[in-house]
Amino acid sequence: MKISNTKFLIRTVLTLLGFALAEVGSFAIPTLQNQTFVIRDEAYRAILAGLMVIYLGSGIFSWFSETRRVKYAKRAPFRLFIGLVLLVWDMLGTKFGKLHMPFFPGPSQITWVFVEEWEFLLSNLLYSLRLYAFGFFSGVFLGVGTGILIGWFSKANYWIMPVLKMTGVIPAVAWMPFALNIFPSSFLAGCFLVSMCAWFPIGFQTARGMQATQKVYFEVARTIGGGRFYQLFHVAIPNALPTIFTGVSTANGLAFTTLVMTEMMGARGGLGYYINWAKAWSSYYKVYAAIIIMAILFSIILKIIGAIQNRALIWQRGLTSNVEERG
């Protein structure tokens, strides 16, 4: 598919148009001020301007490559739509006060939180990130370890697999009352819960992938002189890699849920904690701000894991994302 220069220019204009209209709307119509506090539009306007700069830049960058041109042009209608949604939201919320307060604040109010409370938000963000890193990675480590034991030793399969299956179906948060009591800090309790929820799917999928190894690969390993060690580390575990990643993706989704729930219920920091704290003050616009940060943070984490997976599974046939990357 080819995109002509004129068509690409039209698409670029469309991409920017929505955000430009939202920006014009924000400047042109006076903000309806509330009695209790002042609504500041600067952060919202700056973000709109930032988005326009980014999309203009990516348009210029895409100009020179056929494949990037197609991608960019394809996304134009959606970006226009987002801009228009922001415009309508801003009108209803900030400009004419038609939305039900305090539950549905306008975009200006929400984005100003990033300016007003950036230090507190950042410290909570880092708290969440730390909990995720320790909890999730220890879960991956434990899960892969348990899975290897189960997948390789029939004794472990006999004794541990039923335990894994039984405890695995329990949502990790069910252990919360117990975890909060036996662990010395709420951070360790959170780590325990996040790693518990990752442990089951990863352990199960690791074992399953190893047990599904074709017999011929082991026979090849034996005829070329590979012992038990070679068969485990160079045959069974590589064979399990695709299902290990299936487990990691499942675990990741569960880990986000568990992370936020533990923070909301027992922690002294973190985005979940921030939401709870903001709710107690009826500052719902802050809840939205935290939710936006979560969306961005979790998307980035998913992207990173996706990139690692694509790299590790490059040998698999028909992984469409590989083909895209090569193209």
Binding site: V220, T223, G225, Y230, H234, V235, I314
Partner: protein, 260 residues
């Protein structure tokens, strides 16, 4: 050439089928294969030819009789006895070069013999495909890699279990020539299981004919006309006819109960 490399004496292998009945895959099979010889084993399905090959490889063990390589009893697998499987035996997670290197890594001599990998890639004519993954190359290429992976360990014997069974006839002819080339290069003893009579005649010094139920050797035919053999030549066609007749006998059909 007169030294026996592989000696199979009175080997019997009985399997149990799904109903629990005994199934004699091999009964009292004896055969000797000389060092550097190229032997083809041919026979209808169920004659135990793959079973015999797996026993020589040490992937399986017999109920009676013994197998020896250079006088030593075969028990368990050993890189001395390389094995090439039918198809789809390459490790899908390794590149062509790493699949070939797998033999060296498995024995822990990769560092010392790294250079052999490039040598074997050149020998099988796959330069430029070193970094390709198995799903990116053709079936014929994949079998060349499988052969190189077994040969890089410099085995005494190379056991080939219908390695060309799934290939089209052009690729197959090509790979047969490659196999002869490798055989001359390394002087490895070759034992090839096949169901293709032409392939057996084209490649082998001797053709071993097996018959089923119970699996046993019914004939051993030397092929003594020189290589390269012409597939349409008089000697070739005469040999083909001989083997076909023997095979017909080998898979003796039951006498018709009545005739009209």
């Amino acid at each position: 050439m007169s030294k026996n490399a592989v000696e199979v004496t009175g080997v019997t292998r009985i399997y149990t089928d799904v109903r629990g009945n005994p199934l004699e895959a091999l009964r009292d099979v004896s055969v000797s294969i000389q060092q550097g010889e190229f032997v083809s084993i041919i026979g209808p399905s169920g004659c135990g030819k793959t079973t015999l090959l797996r026993l020589i490889a040490g992937l399986d063990s017999p109920q009676a009789g013994e197998l020896r390589l250079n006088g030593e009893i075969i028990s368990g697998t050993d890189p001395q006895r390389g094995y090439v499987f039918q198809q789809g035996s390459l490790f899908p997670w390794l590149t062509v070069a790493k699949n070939i290197a797998a033999g060296l890594k498995a024995r822990g001599v990769y560092k010392q013999q790294k250079a052999d990998v490039a040598e074997y890639i050149e020998l099988i004519g796959l330069e430029g495909f070193e970094k390709s993954y198995p799903h990116q190359i053709s079936g014929g290429m994949a079998q060349r890699v499988a052969i190189a992976r077994a040969l890089i360990n410099r085995p005494e014997v190379l056991l080939l279990d219908e390695p060309m069974g799934a290939l089209d006839s052009f690729t197959r002819a090509d790979l047969q020539d490659k196999l002869l080339e490798l055989w001359k290069h390394d002087g490895t003893t070759m034992i090839l299981v096949t169901h293709d009579i032409d392939e057996a005649i084209y490649l082998a010094d001797r053709v071993v004919i097996m018959s089923p139920r119970p699996g046993k050797i019914s004939d051993v035919i030397p092929i003594d006309f020189p290589r390269p053999r012409h597939r349409g030549g008089v000697e070739f066609l005469a040999m083909r006819k001989t083997i076909l007749e023997k095979l017909d006998l080998a898979s003796a059909k039951p006498e018709p109960e009545y005739t009209i």
